[in-house]
Amino acid sequence: MNDLALKELLYKMADDLLILGHRNSEWTGMGPLLEEDIAFSSMAQDKVGQSLALYTMLHQLGEQTPDTVAFTRNANQFHNCVLVELPNQEYDFSLVRHFLFDTADSLRWNILTKSSYEPLAQLAGKIKGELRYHTLHANTWVKQLGSATEESISRLQKSINIVMPYALGIFEESPYETHIIDKGIFEGEKVLMEKWQAKVTEVISQTQLHLPDWKILTPVLGGRKGKHSEHLQPMLEEMSEVFRIDPTAEW
């Protein structure tokens, strides 16, 4: 098996989950309703937990420990899509990002339940319930706020318009795409994007929101190759502020 191809897949998934989990955790204690504060924090914890499982898999493939990988790399060594690193704005932005990302994420893991790479298939089976909750949460909020008041509809619409080009960046192809597909590890980003568009359309069509025309959007690419927005490096520096006081120390 081509290790590089597999590792590339694992890294981009792990990095996506860590960075978005981190961003979403910033809402803890500041959410719009106590109960939603709790729910959103749990999903952030799930994401960081899933990223840890993937970094652990990478460690078993010879990469450095999860803590070293997560807390000492620089932005250009991260493979996450730019979508997940964008700073939080108002809750509409976080909800729309959560909806668009988690829809893709849950479809990705669903495909991976049939992966020829056994550890990945096993993990996919295990976290099915977490993903089911995340998408139920995201779909319900988007459906309700997307059909509620003029204000909520226009806020969500504005966020969809801003976020969508970044969301298309989730599906930036890997240089090993054919290999990954041929070996049965993953069906590939193209297939995933088609499934994602269908699912997103299905949910949005139940609201008063509109999707932009996919064809005229320019996806924001580069994240998978280490090209990030100006927001990632400061985020990583903040995340590792204590860790870097002494990376050899045990905290």
């Binding site: 500041m30 109960e35 914890q45 937990g49 295990k126 099915k128 319930g129 909750y133 139920l136």
Partner: protein, 200 residues
């Protein structure tokens, strides 16, 4: 805002500092009662309340509010105003002695029945009856479940409940593995012993 908390520094300017807009009624929505099944084969029990704009969101919000920490297998919610409560008794007074038979009704539907076996404890699900009204449900419950002293009875129309669907049963699968939320994962004993030995 100037702060030690980077999250606070990033907060957008919102309204005027110190100017408080009082909350309007129902800003925090209505309340929903939450019931959890701790284990397969065990009864559902009342765990508490969530505030939510509607039943479906109440279910979603209740899930993390009440089932994120301790293992369980199922959950459901019902709006508080759809829970019918009997009077409350104390000492040796069985609440079923206070429940009278209402006039019989035609159309029957299922009601869930809950008992408070001891003041200070939680209401526990005891079973279902087919009745035409909450009063009738309680009177049927008296015939069916009146075996020992009970201090309070709740009756809830099954149709008013948002249950966990069969596909949703996998919500709690990874819960036992979330060790980072578990005291047992923070055993510092060995590290402490090593440290104390080094100090000697």
């Amino acid at each position: 805002m100037n702060s030690l908390d980077p999250r606070v520094i990033r907060l957008p300017k919102t309204g005027e500092p110190g100017i408080i807009q009082p909350k309007v009624p129902l800003d925090q929505f209505g309340s929903f009662e939450v019931f959890v099944q701790p284990k397969e084969g065990k009864s559902f029990q009342h765990e508490g309340v969530v505030h939510s704009p509607n039943l479906e969101l109440a279910y979603i919000l209740a899930k993390e509010t009440f089932t994120r920490r301790f293992t369980c297998v199922s959950l459901y919610v019902v709006e508080t105003r759809n829970v019918f409560a009997s009077p409350l008794t104390d000492g040796n007074n069985n609440v079923y002695d206070l429940i009278v038979d209402p006039p019989p009704s035609n159309k029957k539907e299922p009601y869930e029945i809950y008992h408070l076996p001891k003041r200070g404890k939680q209401h526990i699900h005891v079973g279902q009856v087919e009745a035409g009204s909450p009063e009738e449900a309680m009177s049927f419950a008296r015939k069916k479940f009146n075996t020992k002293i009970i201090y309070n009875v709740w009756a809830v129309k099954s149709a008013d409940i948002r249950f966990t669907s069969i596909e949703e049963n996998d919500f709690w699968i990874t819960l036992p593995e979330k060790h980072f939320r578990d005291a047992a994962d923070y055993k510092g004993g060995d590290k402490l012993k090593l440290f104390l030995e080094k100090q000697k």
